[in-house]
């Protein structure tokens, strides 16, 4: 009883200066178990604390409150409390107890989903991420939760804003998998296929010691997206993908690999037959929509191939080559592609012809110079980062020890930067 009240007073008194807060933290850590044992009683005490000033204390109390199972009625009040807490808490204080903050936010997400109102959680979760992150390059456990809420609430555009940021620092590998997978789905929804491909590629090639379901699902989508966007798919994973992945991923996604092979042959009819035959499989994986996009992308691919060979071509011939039903359909397809900037052409209705043009970009404008310039700047920054990381790595004793041991097995020249004393 009194210990809780005492704790409250401590919190109120010691939350102003940084040194006080550190002392407070020790106290709170010691009192944590007793707080948890009295979790049912703690709710009214929260009113005595101000989340904007006593963030750390509030956090401990809040975490203990929400530790047990929560009913739907309780959920709606908790959700409000947590949302308000997140928006008003002080970032420095909560960063002292990041694990607690993350569990509170996770429970927040669970409750929001329990209430079936994912939209409620989107803004608070975004704020939470910003407060928890040490920098925008830092991936927290909350990132994938946020993306999940965006997906469920259909706020794809908001989700995109987080995806724009480059991530280099990861807390937990598992977070990355989910982040990239959900991120890929959001990009697919907004038709940013290139970014989706990048994210899914990261999942598929990430280091893993055992195959996990996220990677498998990501691989399926990866195959489909790489058919839609660049239109090529190579069945071999790059060398740096984990050996586990290289051995197993393909076998678990066979219908998709077959689809990619069929696509490579360029015949629409075969592709459509294949899709029809395997419709249920794609549906159970929730990929049928994507598969349909793959099929329609084949028409585009075939028309694009024609631009390489022909200067002008009749709409009838286009319809025949690409296997469309009529010249009018061909015209509509070409018009769409012109509108989307996928080809450069003009349609001549009088003669029923299409004239394919070269890319009008002359690379002589100011905008182009800006683009190249900013690209160079970016790459220089990245290069520096890479060099720094390389230097750090070269001084790492664990790495040197392993390299020294392996020296005999590998080419000597690669390792003459490793001092001799690291030989076994």
């Amino acid at each position: 009883m009194s210990s809780v009240e005492g704790l409250v007073t401590q919190i109120q008194g010691r939350s102003s200066t940084a040194s006080d807060v550190l002392l407070l933290q020790n106290l709170l850590k010691q009192a944590d178990d007793s707080l948890h044992s009295e979790s049912t009683r703690l709710l009214p005490f929260l009113d005595q604390l101000d989340p904007s000033m006593h963030s750390l204390g509030y956090l401990y109390f809040l975490e203990a409150c929400t530790a047990g199972p929560v009913t739907k009625e309780q959920a709606s009040s908790f959700v409000l409390i947590i949302a308000r807490f997140i928006s008003s808490c002080v970032a420095e204080q909560i960063r002292l107890a990041p694990d607690k903050f993350m569990s509170v936010c996770k429970r927040f997400k669970d409750q929001v989903l329990l209430l079936e109102e994912p939209l409620r959680g989107v803004a608070p979760m975004l704020t939470a991420i910003r407060k928890l992150q040490s920098s925008t390059e830092h991936l927290t456990t909350l990132h994938p939760e946020f993306l999940l809420l965006c997906l469920l609430a259909k706020c794809y555009k908001t989700g995109l804003s987080i995806l724009e940021e480059d991530i280099f620092d990861v807390d937990q590998p598992r977070d990355l998998f989910l982040y990239c997978y959900y991120g890929g789905m959001i990009c697919i929804g907004q038709k940013h296929f290139l970014k989706a491909l990048e994210l899914l590629h990261n999942v598929v090639t990430a280091p893993m010691s055992t195959i996990n379901a996220i990677a498998v699902e990501a691989y399926k989508k990866y195959i489909l997206v790489s058919l839609i966007h660049p239109g090529q798919f190579s069945t071999s994973l790059p060398k740096y993908a984990s050996s586990v992945g290289q051995r197993n991923l393909k076998n678990l996604c066979l219908p998709y690999i077959e689809l990619a092979n069929s696509y490579g042959n360029g015949k629409i009819a075969d592709l459509e037959t294949y899709v029809q035959a395997n419709k249920e499989k794609f549906e159970t994986d929730n990929n049928l929509g994507l598969v349909k996009q793959v099929v329609s992308s084949m028409y585009k691919r075939n028309i694009q191939r024609l631009t390489q060979t022909y200067l002008t071509l009749s709409l009838q011939d286009i319809a025949n080559t690409v296997q469309l039903n009529s010249p009018k359909e061909a015209e509509m397809h070409v018009l769409q592609m012109i509108q989307d900037g996928e080809i450069y052409a003009t349609i001549n209705q009088k003669d029923g012809m299409v004239r394919f043009l070269e890319d009008p970009e002359q690379y002589k404008s100011c905008e182009m110079i800006e683009r190249i310039d900013s690209s160079i700047q970016r790459l220089m920054t990245l290069s520096k980062k890479l060099t720094i990381m390389d230097e750090l790595m070269s001084c790492e004793p664990l790495y040197l020890a392993k390299a020294g041991r392996e020296r005999q097995r590998l080419d000597f020249d690669d390792f003459d930067t490793v001092p001799q004393r690291f030989n076994i």
Partner: protein
């Protein structure tokens, strides 16, 4: 709910900002936990997305609206019809959807602005995609009658061949900026220096 920012944007005709304003506002309001859907201006929100040609977001917004709301707001359904036509690239259908409903005054402003923008976009599409086009098709694309469309394009400098009912497209030359900032040259010099050493 505080719609002052939104109303300001509507009043000042900054229609391209409406989508972002609505998106942010809806998140704030939802976080408060207050049931807002009955009072939320979904129609404006939807049209805001359509105005900036973000049909993806419009689609997702439409999917997230509860069916009860959809049933009770015929204007919302009509607004979505425009989005649908744009999604399926039924260019002629867009005009029908615009004209096929009696919009309330508030929405009418936005609809009118969008209509003008859409016509302009369609015209630019025809300009870049066609060298000759039949009067009939042009009328479909621009949502005008055949006579109106002929007059419109003649004013833009196209030519008409009434025998074959064909219009020939004439493009205006576009001037692109070519000035070079001396500061850029300095940057380039630095890069080359950096690479050489």
């Amino acid at each position: 709910m505080d719609f002052s920012v939104l109303n300001e944007a509507l009043a000042s005709k900054s229609f391209d900002k409406i989508a972002d304003i609505c998106d942010n506002l809806i998140l704030q309001v939802a976080a408060e936990g207050v049931p807002f859907q009955d009072e939320w201006p979904f129609t404006i929100h939807l049209l805001g997305h359509i105005y900036v040609d973000d049909i993806n977001s419009a689609r997702f917004l439409w999917k997230s609206i509860p069916p009860a709301i959809k049933e009770s707001q015929p204007e919302l359904v009509a607004a979505w019809k425009i989005g649908q036509k744009l999604w399926t690239r039924d260019y002629a259908g867009v005009y029908e959807a615009i004209r096929g409903f009696d919009w309330i005054q508030e929405t009418e402003v936005l609809i009118a602005a969008f209509s003008e923008l859409n016509t302009k976009r369609m015209f630019e599409l025809l300009l870049s995609a066609y060298s000759t086009i039949s009067i009939h098709d042009a009328a479909q694309f621009l949502g005008m009658s055949e006579e109106d469309v002929t007059n419109y394009v003649l004013r833009q400098g196209w030519t008409v061949d009434s025998d074959s009912q064909m219009l020939t497209v004439t493009k205006q030359a576009i001037v692109r900026e070519q000035k070079l900032d001396p500061g850029k040259l300095q940057c380039l010099t630095e890069y080359v220096f950096h690479l050489e050493h």
